[in-house]
Symmetry: C2
Subunit: 346 residues, 2 copies
């Protein structure tokens, strides 16, 4: 079985974007604010948006199941205030839940949170609870920089974030650390801000003792961990100078990297440097990089090929990366799969 733990609903029907534009217009003129009910998307439209896109590619590439969350760049937590984000997150999560309901064998939800710059993360808990307890979601995306490239929130190791971590422990779900659109002209969203956030989050964990306070906390750092595996020696050396334990001990019980690295040498490095138990298969397909690589003739985001070809991996390790690690890091995903299997066996 192949589980892709990093998929976003990047192909949602245009009505969603139109609704959001209207919501943004409402920030300047409250009379324009749309009601959540004004968003009308039929199951037929959802099916069209998925079958020709994510599902078609999953079938083509042999991917069975995708952990599916709202479009990362559309979260745009910097827009408006908590209420703006609460309404927007709810709509976006609902659409992912409907997709998972239409294709229960192929998609399972991960929650976008209604974060907002300066807001207490506790304001996110009701939506997180709703997503997990009512919609059956198995993870969340946590944005370490709701300001969108101005980095005005405290580091992830700060107590500011602890209410989220406490709820994660209760619910037994992991968080993917994923920023959204950059509204800082210095940072290109997918070419700089995303990768920088990955590196930044890792280093925030390295310099802290966060995982002593939360031994079961699990962070998935996407995009192959940003710059981290490429500079693994640097990070090992920095930890050593800070008298931290070896990274394996200090961080690798709690931090996992996905495989959204879009060329063979990058995946070869990732799988050579990072223990297989810490690598989770992902492609973020129909995401940041949608073209065909002229050097290979295949899609940049067809990362399964790279894992298959990675020279240092054993078949056992490939199975960990494709399936077993996801079951371990996302226990609610494992439980859902087991329940289905039992249902099918009955």
């Amino acid at each position: 079985m192949i589980i892709d733990i990093h998929g976003h609903y990047t192909t949602a029907p245009r009505a969603l974007e139109a609704w959001r534009n209207q919501q943004v217009a409402g920030l300047a003129d409250a009379a324009l604010t749309p009601s959540p009910d004004a968003l009308k998307i039929s199951d037929e439209e959802l099916r069209e948006s998925i079958e020709a896109n994510q599902l078609a590619k999953m079938r083509e590439r042999g991917i069975d199941l995708t952990v599916f969350s709202p479009r990362a760049s559309f979260m745009a937590h910097h827009i408006g205030n908590v209420e703006t984000s609460v309404t927007w997150a709810r709509l976006c999560n609902d659409l992912c839940a409907r997709v998972a309901g239409l294709y229960p064998d192929n998609f399972i939800g991960a929650a976008m949170l209604p974060q907002s710059p300066g807001a207490d993360p506790r304001t996110c808990l009701p939506e997180l609870d709703r997503c997990v307890n009512e919609l059956g979601f198995v993870a969340l995306n946590l944005n370490p920089d709701p300001s969108g490239g101005h980095w005005t929130s405290p580091p992830l190791s700060d107590r500011h974030w602890y209410p989220i971590y406490e709820r994660m422990a209760e619910l037994d779900i992991p968080a993917m650390i994923h920023v959204s659109t950059s509204c800082n002209a210095c940072f290109h969203t997918t070419g700089a801000h995303y990768l920088n956030a990955d590196t930044t989050a890792f280093m925030q964990c390295l310099t802290s003792d966060l995982f002593k306070d939360f031994p079961t906390l699990r962070f998935v750092i996407p995009h192959g961990g940003g710059a981290v595996p490429y500079h693994w020696g640097r990070f090992r050396g920095l930890a050593q100078e800070m008298k931290k334990p070896l990274l394996e001990e200090h961080l690798l019980e709690n931090i996992f990297f996905d495989t959204c690295v879009y060329h063979q040498p990058g995946i070869d490095l990732l799988t050579k440097v990072i223990p297989a138990k810490n690598v989770l298969f992902a492609s973020e397909m129909i995401g940041a990089v949608r073209g065909i690589d002229p050097q290979t003739g295949h899609a940049y985001d067809d990362t399964r090929r790279f894992i298959e070809a990675a020279p240092t991996l054993s078949d056992t390790e490939r199975r960990q990366i494709f399936e077993l690690n996801a079951r371990r890091v996302y226990p609610r995903l494992a439980a859902a799969l087991d329940a289905r299997q039992q249902g099918a066996a009955r």
Copy 2:
């Protein structure tokens, strides 16, 4: 010959730091501001600080010459105003010039600029001219974020920076793009801010047509290019979607990566993915990562070993990386070496 293009004076006598602390105290109480003349460091003290440190390691590792600039984290352009930085940069550059004067075969200067948040980069030109024309420096360090982690300056592709580039063209010198200390709690200086800045700068170049305006402009992106080579497929794909030329054509006449990557797999990836003509030997020794790697028994920053062992490099390519590229990218360095050779032959 082996040229290390990335060395900072991290071991300057303590009197320098004491002077700086006094200068910072003077920002709160002008009466405390020290005179530049108050900094007294003898040649003997400079020799001690260099011979037991950089020079000892260069001899041990067989490195002939280091391009030597003031300590990057001490630039701290976010402190004070333009005048603060003008005085501070001058003192720091003078020390590097004195080291180069004491050890002309082993060190050659690169300039720190007196940048300041919000200041017109033109204010840096007198110090840059002085360093190149009077002190014999062959390059400069350009800080794309003088705010120290708040990223309040325009991207490097903005006309804001053009006066620097015009002067670089006139002087025929390259710039290393190097930030300084982060005063944003989100970013660890050497573990996040440096690497993020490298990735950010590369992407600012990718999305722009800066090198059409300045065809001879040369940027050295340190720390192995941040996350860039590891994500080379991502960057190729992003450029493709933006209808930019192939990266080789679009950027690799103007952008170079150093080899400050502190483990073998990282250097193997760098030298596999990036053409040898774009890779410059560097170690940033006695810098961010000073320990011994228990996995190898050698210093993390002893990068020469990694280049020697990189499996895809030919001897010709190694010679490019160790020497020939530096001569090409830093023509004033080449001219200085040629002049010395002619002097020796006479």
